[in-house]
Amino acid sequence: MVHALREIRRVLAPNGILIDLRPVSDRWPIEVISAQEVHETGRVLDLPNPLADDEAANRAVIQASGNGWFLRDREEFFPYYYTWDTPSEMEEWIAEEWNDFIDMDEETKRATRSAWALGGAEAQVRVRVKMLITRWKAAQGL
C-alpha cells in the first residue's frame, strides 16, 4: 500500500490532490425503510480480514504522510447504502458477495424479516456502509 501511495505521488503534478475513498469496518447497521420510518434492526458482524485491511490502510497513509509525500487536507465520513427489496435478497447477497468480511447473526435476520413484514408493500432493507473520504495534497519536492 505504501508503494502504491509513492507511485501515486510520482504521477501527481505539483499541487495535485489525492482522493482516498473507501469503506471502513464499523459493524454497519441494517435498516428497514418504509413510508413511515427508518428502523435499525441490528448490525452486521465484522470478520477479521477487513479489520486487518483497515489497519493496514491506515498505517500506509500515516507512513505516506510521515514521509512527507502528502498532507492531509480534509476528511469526512458519510453513509453509502446498499438497498434490497426483501430481507432474503439481502441475506443472499451477504452470503455470496460479502462472506469474506461480514456476517449476520440469526437474531438480526429475524428482527429484519419481522420489521420488513410489518413495513408495508413498499418496505425495503438496506445496509448502511460507513465510508471515509479523505483529500490529500501532494507535498512538493519528493
Binding site: 500500500m1 508503494h3 502504491a4 501511495l5 507511485e7 501515486i8 510520482r10 504521477v11 501527481l12 503534478a13 505539483p14 495535485g16 490532490i17 489525492l18 482522493i19 482516498d20 475513498l21 473507501r22 469503506p23 490502510a57 500506509a60 497513509v61 480534509r74 469526512e76 458519510f78 453513509p79 453509502y80 447504502y81 446498499y82 438497498t83 434490497w84 427489496d85 435478497e89 443472499e92 447477497w93 438496506r126 465510508m131 473520504i133 483529500r135
Partner: protein, 98 residues
C-alpha cells in the same frame, strides 16, 4: 436480485464536494467497471481509469458514453506500477482500493 447502490447518491455528492474536476487530468485507481468514473469524467480534460481486472475494464469500455470516447481511457494496471509519466495528473482517486 434487486440491489440498488448508493440510493441517496452520497458518494457522488461527497466526491464533488472534495474536488473540482472541471478541466482536470484525472487518474482513477481501481476503476473496475467504471461505476464511479461516470459520476465525474464528463467535466474533466482527460480521465484514465486503471484496474487489474481485464473483464471489468471491458465492461467499462463498452459503457463509455459516445461523447467521452476521446477523453476517458482505461488501462490494465495495478497501483504499484502506474503506466504514466511523472507529474501527469491533477487529481488521483483511490476508489475503494487502498
Amino acid at each position: 436480485m434487486t440491489l440498488q447502490k448508493d440510493t441517496e447518491r452520497n458518494e457522488t455528492k461527497y466526491l464533488h464536494g472534495f474536488a473540482d474536476f472541471t478541466g482536470k487530468r484525472v487518474l482513477e485507481i481501481g476503476c473496475g467497471e467504471g461505476r464511479l468514473t461516470w459520476q465525474y469524467a464528463k467535466s474533466t480534460q482527460t480521465t484514465i481509469g486503471v484496474d487489474p481486472d481485464r473483464d471489468a475494464l471491458r465492461v467499462a469500455a463498452v459503457d463509455r458514453p459516445s461523447d467521452q470516447q476521446n477523453k476517458v481511457h482505461f488501462a490494465c494496471a495495478n497501483s504499484q506500477h502506474l503506466p504514466s509519466a511523472k507529474e501527469t495528473f491533477d487529481i488521483a482517486i483511490l476508489a475503494w482500493s487502498l
